[in-house]
Amino acid sequence: MSSRDQILNNIRNQIVASVDHPGLAGEWIRYDDRVEHYATVLAAVGGTAHVVDSAEQILAELNQVPAFAAAKKVVSLCGEVAGNVDFAQIDDPHKLEDVDFAILPAQFAVAENGAVWVDDADVKHRVIYFIPQHLSFIVPAPQDAADAIVDNMHQAYERLSFGQPRFGTFVSGPSKTADIEQSLVIGAHGARSLNVFFLRQ
């Protein structure tokens, strides 16, 4: 008998009383001002939120970020900001090793935990979310920034579907660690800074 069948048989031989799935309905938290709450939580986890109305505004804000001004190799997958790396032409993700700054699109944000959701549907190398020294996300916001922010994770999963081979991740702030005496250090392996732009259209 294969290990698979042995394991499954052993499980099926156990007497376990049936328990119903509880369902996911609940009075889950909502915020009066999602934008403000999101910005507060993101700040608490080391990131910065901006609400902007134009590409020029994004660029103006980015120019305030020293790491952007100093960046030699910039990947941008957003039309609003130009990069200097032809991402589509890169065949091996290892070649992204020295990217200083990346500007990437995100789909929506979550107020309760400061996260944005991104996936690799249109992103050839998913490592671009993790390998750049610094990272910015641009989240399209139809009219108001609040439109791009859900209150909680329950609402977040209502927006997601997972039917096909794909990678997606919630990113909440820059990479961090507190493994040395619980001292928080920003910039463990991934991005050393994270800016999130809500672009009102």
Partner: protein
């Protein structure tokens, strides 16, 4: 082989009072962060209830969900393997690595691979395995085991990290700045990420409905480790399953808040199938879990999502250190899991607990940890593994307490001795109570005697 038991190991840790207090405070700090995060959600207790029910439901239909997961993961292009024990798990990993002649592996945190002792197994085969979580890398360089499942290096001081990094990463001697040391590790591990032939990760959650899996880190090490090399091996215990993707809403809200007091981990990555041109292998490991499933007493421990909150809150763990448990998973949950593998070797762990119940109240999936520990005590007694120094006094006390007369006599003699014996006859090596504590003062009369006087006085007053 006689292995050191918890009381001896703990006493050794406690003997360094300053360090034990430093350790206690570091973990209490995490517990306080967790408290602030928990109260930020008024629905916290409902979330715990829901999480607990989802896990119980999953366990009750585990075989169906495993098959559903396998089907869906396969459809997405992943390869699913089954391992009944640690040995088989390790061999599967080895065969996958050999197939592509992989020599350099990066691995993110996985308690399962610790449980299976994967690292030494692969190293014996000449394969370099680099733990990429900073805490794990620190203990790996120091040739130690993690002392906590979420904070593997919580027992190590920054000065010691500095020494270790000076030796292995050529950092400047005496520079203890966590920023500087983390930066050094970042640069060192970047080289490892870029050079890796394969990436191994643990799994926080696997989704039956979609065939996907979720890996949570703060550092981004799991993601970096599997998005450069072509081969991703994900190792998971079968209890990591949840039925639906939407169930994750509950678990991701609880996990990081309970673990480190963050609203969510920095990265909560959902892997559905391999990346284009890559391979994703998922190893489903039993290693004793299916046996726990049938036990109504201990089934609850399969709900565990490995947040470590029970360790952070446990007043014994905080003061005795993770290594005193002598297990991969220490603390309250470890003291339940370890005896289920070998109750003789780990017989002292269910007793390394005051039954205070803080772990049960902190647990995000409502495992009744302290009651399970109590159950284990009974089980260890039943298996004849309790030393006679414990069973005999209990037998005698029970016998004595069944006779109020005998109880009264023994009590009176005891009290008399306490009043009249010289100190040396009371405080000596055979009286662990008196090592650091005074004995209670001994009254001349017991309550039952005073009560008699009280009653007769009442009668004469009337």
């Amino acid at each position: 082989m006689k292995t050191a038991q918890h009381p001896e190991q703990a006493a050794e840790f406690v003997a360094n009072d300053a360090r034990a207090h430093w350790h206690d405070q570091a973990l209490w700090f995490v517990r306080e962060k967790r408290d602030r995060m928990a109260v930020s959600l008024p629905e916290w207790e409902q979330l715990r209830d829901t999480a607990s029910q989802i896990k119980l439901h999953t366990v009750s239909r585990m075989a169906d969900y495993l098959e559903e997961f396998e089907r869906n993961a396969t459809k997405l292009g992943a390869v699913v393997h089954w391992a009944k024990d640690a040995q088989e798990h390790n061999e599967i990993v080895l065969s996958l690595l050999k197939k592509i002649d992989a020599k350099r592996i990066v691995k993110s945190k996985s308690m399962l691979t610790e449980e299976c002792h994967l690292n030494p197994f692969l190293e014996e085969q000449g394969i370099e395995v680099v733990d990429t979580d900073l805490g794990e890398r620190i203990v790996q360089l120091r040739k130690e085991a993690p002392s906590h499942i979420v904070l593997p290096a919580i027992h190590i001081k920054k000065e010691e990290v500095s020494e270790t990094f000076h030796e292995h990463l050529q950092t400047e001697a005496g520079n203890n700045d966590p920023n500087y040391l983390t930066e050094a590790a970042r640069n060192h591990l970047r080289e490892k990420f870029v050079a890796a032939d394969a990436g191994i990760t643990g799994v926080n959650f696997a989704i039956a409905e979609t065939g996907g899996l979720v890996v949570c880190t703060n550092e981004g090490n799991a993601d970096l480790g599997v998005s450069l090399p072509k081969l991703h091996i994900a190792c998971m215990g079968i209890e990591k399953l949840v039925p639906k993707a939407a169930d994750l809403s509950v678990f991701l809200r609880l996990l990081a808040r309970s673990a480190t007091g963050q609203p969510i981990t920095t990265y909560s990555s959902h892997f559905h199938g391999p990346r284009p041109g890559g391979e994703l292998h998922i190893i489903l490991v039993d290693n004793g879990r299916s046996n726990l499933m049938g036990s109504s007493q201990f089934r609850n421990s399969l709900k565990c999502i490995r947040c470590g909150a029970c360790m952070n809150t446990c007043p014994v763990y905080r003061r005795s250190g993770g290594h005193s448990y002598g297990t991969t998973v220490p603390g309250p949950i470890g003291s339940i899991l370890a005896p289920s593998r070998d109750s003789k070797q780990h017989k002292s762990l269910p007793f390394a607990c005051t039954l205070c119940g803080s772990c049960t109240d902190v647990c995000p999936v409502k495992i009744d940890l302290h009651h399970e520990l109590l159950e284990w005590r009974g089980e260890i007694r039943k298996r004849g593994q309790l030393p006679i120094s414990k069973t005999l006094p209990m037998k005698f006390t029970s016998w004595m307490m069944q006779s109020p007369w005998l109880f009264g006599v023994v009590g009176a003699i005891g009290r008399w001795c306490l009043r009249h014996f010289p100190r040396w006859a009371i405080y000596h090596g055979l009286n662990p109570w008196g090592k650091q504590r005074e004995m209670p003062e001994s009254p001349k009369q017991s309550f039952r005697e005073l009560y008699q006087i009280h009653e007769s006085k009442k009668a004469s007053d009337e």
